[in-house]
């Protein structure tokens, strides 16, 4: 099977005057884990709901598993496992009844596999859904999405409410799906949730697909941040000119450093003074966009625009890039 698992061309959805999804050309390969990244409200869920025929496109079209979105939605949905964003289930059903209901709508599934999934995710199926924590509800949603071993998993913000241990199990499960030759379409608003598992990432912003990139490439370009706390004030120019540093702000004994690429040089520099505490922060997507645009648009300009807030960097004339 070489056809794309998802292919859209010019997919557009307007709500009134607002273009929630605007001319999206998307191609997700069979057998890959594709991360669909974007800030909240960027159009991720709208795109997904177009794929599921819950919303009807204003223009454009698409195929899922080689089948037309509109004409063959029923056959598409037979082969899809879906977890919606902000999952809601029937509060009066137990976890088990919920699974049974969706299993029967699919014409039955292997219940031994359901039990296996429940055990792996450490999900409680015995109580009513209304009494569950959001984490356990999310687990029910995941079991429901995985239980029929669908050819394509479409998961909208699946990590929400899962504790880190379960997230690890979940990522293992995603890798197994990929090893099985099946496809995962994984939406998220944070890069860290998808970078460990995804092969490629598409970034949507204001309804437009702005980047499709291999994850390793994106990570290479992504800006990360480290905050250092020192035992005593350090020179304001400490990080000036260090390889990879984009911006550095030093206030007495505190330093905030944005960098890209390898962390080694940053750490080496940082540890020339006594570090008491170290805190790493995720680059947010906005910064990734900026990094991406900078690298594609400004390659000819060695100075770049560094958004530098380190006064020392300009004082001693070194540019941080």
């Amino acid at each position: 099977m070489t056809e794309a698992a998802i292919r859209t061309s010019g997919l557009t959805k307007y709500f009134g005057d607002l273009a929630a999804v605007d001319g999206v050309d998307l191609e997700v390969n069979t057998g890959e884990i594709f991360g669909f990244l974007g800030p909240n409200g960027a159009g991720k869920s709208t795109t997904i709901r177009l794929l599921l025929d819950q919303l009807r496109p204003t223009s454009g079209h698409g195929q899922v598993l080689g089948l037309d979105l509109r004409e063959r939605s029923l056959q598409i949905r037979q082969q899809i496992g879906y977890l919606p964003d902000d999952l809601s289930l029937y509060p009066k059903l137990t976890g088990r009844q919920t699974i049974d209901f969706f299993a029967r709508l699919r014409g039955g599934v292997d219940m031994a596999y359901v039990d296996e999934l429940a055990a792996r995710l450490d999900a409680d199926l015995s109580r009513k859904v209304g009494e569950y924590s959001s984490g356990n509800r999310q687990k029910i949603g995941l079991i429901q999405a995985f239980m029929h071993k669908p050819a394509l998993l479409i998961l909208d913000e699946p990590n929400s409410g899962l504790d880190p241990l379960v997230q690890q199990t979940f990522q293992e499960m995603l890798r197994e799906v990929r090893a099985d030759g099946r496809t995962v379409f994984l939406s998220s608003h944070t890069l860290s949730e998808v970078e460990r598992v995804a092969d490629r990432v598409g970034i949507i912003r204001h309804g437009r697909l702005v980047v499709v990139e291999r994850v390793d490439e994106l990570k290479r370009k992504a800006i990360r941040r480290l905050d250092f706390e020192y035992s005593e004030p350090v020179p304001a120019s400490l990080f000036a000119g260090v390889e990879g540093v984009r911006a550095a702000e030093v206030h007495g004994a505190f330093a905030e450093v944005s960098y890209e690429g390898s962390v080694n040089k940053v750490l080496q520099t940082a540890m020339t003074h006594e570090v008491i505490n170290l805190h790493s922060r995720d680059a947010d997507l906005e910064e990734i966009f900026l990094a991406y645009y900078r690298d594609t648009d400004d390659n000819d300009d060695p100075q770049g625009h560094t958004r530098s807030s380190a006064p020392s960097a300009s004082k001693d004339g070194s540019h941080v890039q």
Binding site: L52, D53, Q54, L55, R56, P84, S88, F101, L105, R106
Partner: protein, 258 residues
């Protein structure tokens, strides 16, 4: 697969329908139980009233005022209110509760979802009406009354069809808009306006206009006395069928919420 949707729907409606049915049955039972002794009193009060006012008060039916109140006021209003509330949330309620996105992602067509909802709604109305009828019939057996079991069954059937028609209207508005609030207020408003026009217009000498009201086809033929009126039931059925047809068309066409 469709059966599973229907079973799910019935499980969801079961408690509400059974409770309402039992309350109506209990009410009907006791209403009939005391109607014998009250009849004389009420008859004295209303014997000089014009026919249309008697109809409005409900004292012109066999069994007198109490039975009239039960059949022309309490039971139909309870049944129609239930029909409107349940109908308006049947489809749109899943969108309000945000369960629709899971349900509609399953391999079931929208038409199938809607059909299951409509069948579940109809069966729960049948259950409510049947319990109500059973309460009446039981009291009739125990205390005796001028009512016949056939008349009771006919009266209950007419009420059932009235409920079905309003349930279908509420379902259709909900299916078209995805908003249970709009559906229940619109369908409820229509039901109240139709009820008042059926009850009031004859008092104002405009009896023909009352025939525009669905309530006329539920009560106008006096089914307790005259049995089933098939043309009237046909009108209510047609109304429900048109509403269902609109519901399917609208629901298949639009963007789903939630």
């Amino acid at each position: 697969m469709s059966n599973e949707l229907l079973a799910h729907e019935l499980r969801h409606r079961r408690n509400g329908a059974v409770v309402l049915g039992l309350v109506l049955a209990g009410y009907a039972f006791f209403a009939l139980a005391i109607s014998g002794s009250l009849r004389q009193t009420v008859d004295n009060l209303t014997k000089n009233m014009p026919q249309s006012l008697k109809a409005f008060v409900g004292s012109n039916v066999p069994g007198g005022y109490i039975v009239g109140e039960t059949f022309t006021l309490i039971a139909p209003i309870a049944l129609v209110a239930y029909a409107v509330i349940a109908g308006s949330s049947a489809v749109a309620g899943e969108e309000r509760d945000r369960t629709m996105s899971m349900l509609s992602a399953q391999p079931v067509t929208r038409t199938r979802i809607l059909t299951a909802k409509a069948c579940g709604l109809a069966l729960s109305l049948v259950a409510v009406t049947a319990l109500f009828w059973a309460g009446m019939a039981l009291a009739d057996l125990a205390y005796g009354s001028p009512l016949t079991p056939g008349g009771l069954a006919a009266g209950a059937t007419h009420l059932l069809f009235l409920g079905l028609a309003f349930a279908a209207i509420a379902l259709a508005i909900g299916a078209a808009t995805g908003r249970p609030g709009i559906a229940s207020s619109t369908a409820g408003g229509i039901a109240v306006a139709a009820y008042l026009s059926n009850a009031m217009l004859p008092l104002a000498g405009m009896g023909r206009w009352a025939e525009l009201s669905p309530w006329y086809y539920a009560l106008g033929s006096d089914p307790l006395r005259n049995g089933l009126d098939l043309p009237h039931l046909g009108v209510l059925t047609g109304l429900g069928a048109i509403a269902l047809f609109v519901a399917v068309l609208a629901f298949r066409r639009r963007d789903l919420k939630g």
